[in-house]
């Protein structure tokens, strides 16, 4: 049974604390969704779990099946079963999609073993078809010149090929038109099984029309400030986030406010917190 445990996670980038105590457990078979306004730390959480070198964990733990993820390098995390469908995946000129994914699959095998070429091609072509991507995809360079939607589909294609234990999909729905959203949503749903833990980061209810979530969390100021069922999403969709902000007593939900940082954090927030106590 796969299990990802995030406990009181704090992380910073360039000296700014972005994650301020995130606690979340995802079990195999469960689908969680994280929603939240821009700049509240959602992508940062995903990056920290995957091990992006820019972020520094200052407190807390991440465990995958009981193993300390924070001690693993990015590639070890991936081979241990973590997958992150990125909000903005890199472009890698000169490296074809198929070479890349083949190398990634080989990396999961024992030393010296390789994926069978024929089986690989069959599996890849099938995934390309299921995602309704263009047939020259295997020979195109990794994400280079891809449209926003193509990049997102390519992330899902990689997930299909790599069959992770825990998959985090960061805004896999943004930049997709209605048809593409349906395709991506249905493909993700078809991958669900009782060993796969899914974490969807999204701004829109419409993704969850295709991928049912068991639990919904709302992120603000680098914390999960509210958790519940699908009903939260419906309300967010209709009313926005104000009601949650009021509930938890937050005025500015961003981790790093755009305006004068110090003035806002020390002035407004401190007062608010005091009042709501």
């Amino acid at each position: 049974m796969s299990k990802l445990e995030i406990k009181d996670l704090h992380a910073e980038v360039e000296g700014n604390e972005i994650l301020r105590g995130v606690t979340l457990t995802i079990n195999g078979g469960e689908t969680h969704a994280i929603m939240g306004p821009n700049g509240t730390g959602k992508s940062t959480l995903a990056s920290v779990v995957m091990g992006h070198p820019k972020y520094k964990v200052t407190q807390g733990e991440i465990l995958l099946d009981g193993n300390n993820v924070l001690e693993m390098d990015v590639d070890e995390r991936a081979r241990a079963g973590l997958f992150l469908g990125m909000q903005a995946p890199a472009e890698v000129p000169g490296v074809t999609n198929s070479d890349f994914i083949k190398t990634a699959m080989n990396a999961r095998l024992e030393e010296g073993k390789k994926v069978k070429l024929f089986a690989f091609i069959k599996q890849y072509d099938k995934a390309v078809q299921e995602l309704k991507m263009s047939e020259d995809l295997p020979h195109r360079y990794l994400n280079e010149g891809f449209s926003g939607g193509e990049k997102k589909r390519n992330e899902i294609l990689q997930m299909k090929m790599l069959n992770p234990k825990i998959a985090i999909l960061d805004e896999i729905d943004s930049g997709l038109d209605v048809d593409a959203l349906k395709i991506v949503g249905e493909n993700v749903t078809s991958m669900k099984h009782d060993q796969l833990g899914l974490l969807l980061i999204t701004h829109y209810q419409r993704l969850l029309d295709y991928i049912k979530a068991d639990k919904v969390h709302v992120m603000m100021k680098g914390q999960l400030v509210k958790s519940g069922g699908m009903d939260i999403i419906e309300r967010i969709d209709q009313e926005g986030y104000d009601w949650i902000k009021q509930e938890v007593g937050i005025d500015d939900e961003r981790v790093i406010p755009k305006d004068d940082k110090e003035l806002v954090t020390i002035g407004t927030c401190a007062t608010k917190e005091a009042l709501d106590l």
């Binding site: 070198p53 820019k54 991936a78 997958f83 000129p93 490296v95 994914i101 190398t103 990396a107």
Partner: protein, 363 residues
């Protein structure tokens, strides 16, 4: 004028590495070692290819004409012309289009290499010519490659060099392109030698075009310098210079590309692009793209982008389970990909990729 004396051949066996390159993968090849042709399997109508022994009598009229057009040349160039011990002459007749690529393996075993290749493409002809250079032991290697592209002819002249450590390599390439002619000079440089490769292309008539593409990898204490000068000596000429470099360990790699548009050579285009990856803190990679333009009505651009391996690319590949080393390999190979298309057989491509891997193994 060429003067030419051959050294005696000590050992007439073709090295195993070359045998395996030729085996089933390559047709239309010639192997020349220390100036002596060891194997030749090229018989195409309208094409003359031979060593200087025969060419200097068979084709002396054509060769003499070339020397008449030659202008300012370096001492190294003159040295090879006067002291060549190995020479290949290629002549494509008028209106002859040669589809299959030719492969010439130029080898050094006993003596220092002083080699001269001359390729002449006559009016409306086309040729894809690939030269592979290798030495068996440390040596000093002086090479002149000359390309004459006559009216409306197209020549792609690709070289791949694999010289050993402690060798010295001095290459002078010179191209002359006439009206509507196109010359492409590709260079895949995976030598371990102390290298100096100097390329001069003269676009001497309107609509002449040239592409000079260099891919080089340096490692350990290697130093390599690549200079390209494309001279626009007529209106409506186009010159493109592209350099891709990877330097690792404590090596130093330099690209000095110059696009020079002379006065009145209106409507010409000179473009240059340099890209580089520096793999270690002590490695150096310098690109000094230069435009010398004495005319307003032209299009010109130059740029250089040099840095470490992109951190986001590395993270992305590793996030799919590739080890850091494999991810770096893939990124470097992808980066050098522009030259792979120019290598005319799968075995040569593999040899290139393996050589890159060898030269970047200490990452």
């Amino acid at each position: 004028m060429v003067t030419y004396t051959k050294n005696p051949l000590i050992n007439d066996t073709i090295p195993k590495t070359i045998e395996s390159l030729i085996a089933d993968d390559i047709s239309h090849y010639l192997v020349i070692k220390d100036g002596h042709i060891l194997a030749k399997d090229i018989d195409i109508e309208g094409l003359y290819i031979d060593n200087f022994d025969n060419a200097l009598s068979d084709k002396i009229d054509v060769i003499q004409k070339i020397d008449d057009t030659k202008t300012d040349v370096s001492d190294a160039f003159k040295y090879v012309k006067e002291n060549a011990t190995s020479g290949i002459f290629v002549h494509v007749q008028k209106n002859t289009v040669i589809e299959p690529p030719l492969h010439v393996f130029v080898l050094q075993e006993e003596h220092d290499m002083v080699h001269n290749t001359i390729v002449v493409c006559d009016e409306n002809s086309q040729l894809n010519y690939m030269e592979y250079y290798q030495n068996e032991q440390p040596s000093s290697n002086n090479i002149v490659n000359q390309a004459i592209v006559n009216e409306n002819a197209k020549l792609t002249y690709t070289t791949m060099n694999l010289f050993t450590q402690k060798s010295v390599l001095d290459v002078n390439r010179q191209g002359l392109v006439k009206r509507y002619g196109t010359l492409t000079f590709n260079n895949a440089e995976v030598s371990d030698a102390l290298s100096n490769v100097n390329t001069v292309v003269k676009l001497v008539a309107p609509y002449a075009k040239s592409y000079v593409k260099t891919v080089a990898i340096t490692n350990q204490q290697q130093e390599a310098r690549f200079e390209q000068l494309v001279e626009h000596l007529a209106q409506y000429t186009e010159g493109y210079i592209e350099n891709y470099g990877v330097s690792s360990d404590t090596s130093a790699l330099v690209f000095e590309g110059v696009g020079k548009i002379h006065k009145n050579m209106k409507h010409s285009i000179a473009r240059q692009q340099n890209r580089g990856i520096v793999l270690s803190r002590k490695a150096r990679l310098d690109a000094n793209p230069l435009l010398l333009i004495d005319e307003y009505d032209v299009i010109a651009s130059h740029g250089a982008a040099i840095g470490k391996i992109d951190e986001e690319q590395l993270y992305y590949l590793m996030s799919r389970g590739l080890t850091k080393r494999n991810a770096e390999r893939l990124i470097i190979n992808g980066f050098l990909n522009p030259i792979l298309d120019a290598l005319s057989s799968d075995k040569l491509k593999t040899l290139f990729i393996d050589s890159v891997a060898r030269k970047t193994q200490d990452l």
